[in-house]
Amino acid sequence: MGPSSTDTALRLAALTKTFGRKPVVDHIDLEVPRGSFYGLVGPNGAGKTTSLSMAVGLLRPDGGRAEIFGLDVWADPARAKELIGVLPDGLSMPERLTGRELLRFTGLLRGMDLKEVERRAGELLTVLELDRAERTLVMEYSTGMRKKIGLAAALLHAPRLLVLDEPLEAVDPVSAATIKAILQRFVRGGGSVVFSSHVMAVVEQLCDHVAVIASGRVVASGPLRAVRAGRSLEERFVSLVGGRIPEVGELAWLSS
């Protein structure tokens, strides 16, 4: 089965990871259709980061399969990794490079032609408005700039699927708008995006598909409208993961 013959961009089948005695990811099944903008929501510690790390080949699963356009990530990593761009959350980047250097060396390490790398890097830096910080090292970047240069590195080799862990976490509104616009254009151009978030409004605004993960399991998934079932995503989410909203009489001493 070649990359072009499948309609699924990412498929997770019974993916499992246990840290200690506690299964953090417990037989997760997930199917991301080609061309979809897929949101992964869940409370803190639900296993989103762990699932995505296993899905792209950064964390070895205890069991199950992860496929990208039909290619097994763990059996055929080289071909699978050609097709994806990844932006993890909270991991380091080549911190002592400027943004342009980072893109150039990443492209060269991918075996891309120097001229092409420089053309794409220049365009990405301009679009992401990072071209004004030519002499700033990545370690001095703000959170928004870090996310943007990470996105640029993920896009550099023109992948078919983007896997992004909390791409908008702690990002200022201006940078967030830029990132959202780029992701929407990527999907319109035929690409697929999977991203995790715990901001429901963002997921409702961007995504056409959504999966709710709690305690390492998928508790609901599918097209956004179907998962919402006529309510707001936030209400539906709280009812699915069993949260509790303070009632009227509680914490009365707060109103002075």
Partner: protein
Amino acid sequence: MAVLLIQMKLAVLRHSMTGRRAAQMITGALTGSALAGGLIVVAGRDHPLASLPFDLLGVGFALWTAGWLLGPALFGGGDETLRPEHFSLLSFTPRRLAAGLAGAAFVGVAPLVTLVAFSALVVVAAKAGLGAAATAVGVLAAVLQLVMCVLASRLVTAVLGQVMRSKAGAALAALVSAVILAGLHSSWVLSPLAQAALRTGFPDPFSTWIAALPSGWGLVAVRAAGHGQWPTVAAALTGLAALGVVCWYGWAALLKRRLTTRRASGRPARVASGAWAKGPMTAVAARELRTWSRDLLRFHYLVFALCYALAFCLLPLAIDAPIFLPWTGAVFALWVAAISANLYGEDGTELWGKMMIPDAARHDVRGRQLAWLLVTAPPTLVLTAAMVVFTGEFDLWPWLAALVPALLGGGAGVTVLVSVLRPVPLADPHRRGGNLLENGTDFAQVLLVLILTAATAAPAYFAVRLGPVWAGPVTGLVGGAAMAWLLGRLAATRLESSAPELLLHLRTGVSPKRRRPAPALDRGRPHLPKPDLGLEKLGLDLAPTGRRAYVIASLTLCWVPLVAQGIVPALMLTTGQITRSWFLALHLPQHLQWPTVIAMIALGLVLLTTGLGIGLYYLAKSRRDGIEPDGGP
């Protein structure tokens, strides 16, 4: 205010007097008391010369004060029981806070032990029969000297904390620690000089210098009081007090700065074109070269290697032994290898980026090797050539032509292999404090790489020793290239197969080899414990006392037979430049010299390997049992 802070500090100390912390404190107190007792004994003993006890105490006080000044910066942070930041939101002026904290700084074991040590001033005044007035001056001088010492320590630690954020500071710290370490490793050079001084007294300029240092002003006051030179007494005591006040003012100013300013963002990077990087491997090498120049830690290490090599090889000139000089380049290469074998640990979780690029592992390893050679080889070759020309030891060329390429190739191989096989996780670069002293060095790894890299030169050594004259250089070149290629290949294969495990290790700080499960992945924010030299980190806390003592003693002492009594006299016998000094073998009849050298080297190796073996056994055991390095009792 000061009373309140002293109470707080006492409360904190009381609460931390549990288990291991208490043991550390008691060990420290006992060691300090023993040293202080030593000073008092020196002060109270009979000496062949009247000036000798004063000179000896001067040296002792100078070293003691140097310990106060540099110790906190070099070996960890200083006394931060009460952190000024805790009080920054309260309505104190910085100077009042500094006064309170200064008061609290005198509470603790170290100031107490120091006061005992400085009371040698009183003892020496009484012993020398300088009179009651001089003894009273001694009491006053001891207290003032303590005040000066503690406040100066605060000031210097605060200054270094600021300076360490710059390249100049990194270079300075490297110079100081390199000279201290090289001095310790070649203290055999100084022992004949010290013995002579003990018999015939110190040279006059030396005595003058020792007395001129602030640490010697108390002694000056006591002596002057004995001779009735009261203006000198007043000047020395006022000087001590004034210095204390200046230090306090300076510290208060820095405290204000620490509490009210944030670290300025970095200067704009100097961007080189890097046009030579056109493919995957050269791109990695170009990136590595930027890290060498932009990362304070790497820069610090590089300057350290250079300073160590120069100090270690130049110091024997003090007894007219230029024997090490031609080897300066080789020593430099060896040390650069030793301090650059944590390439992946230093880059932290950045590894994920390479894992997402097909085939990147091979290019990454080869690129790092190339960069290591580009950084190390030119200074090594220049140092070697310059020192050979300087000493005129051209006969050594087969040795140098064999060992230098072997070491360079071996270093290029060992560093990447150890980086992959035995990473030491550090906090990610952008989360590290600006103060590079917060990032400790893993001495076990440094030691391991020193030994492994030196071992890669063994074939070249034997080729020179046993083969025809061309064999050594050829073996060195071919062997060095083969080592770099082979070990690099092993590293790349290993990296390719186990990158996810390596990433997990770097991310959580826990080796996946431990049976105890790694902590779950928090979304980012890895705050790793900084590596320290604690017994727990080495796993030695699990070992029975006897074995623990053996490991520490054997690893500390093995260098005496191995290097000082083995390799050094072996080099002397090989080159024919013999300085007998304290080298046992060189005092023996000729037919016993080589056997003695070999026996000494063997003894050193036995101590080293058994010590390492037992140590590694308990390290593995602690990892298996899953004792967290920072886990409480």
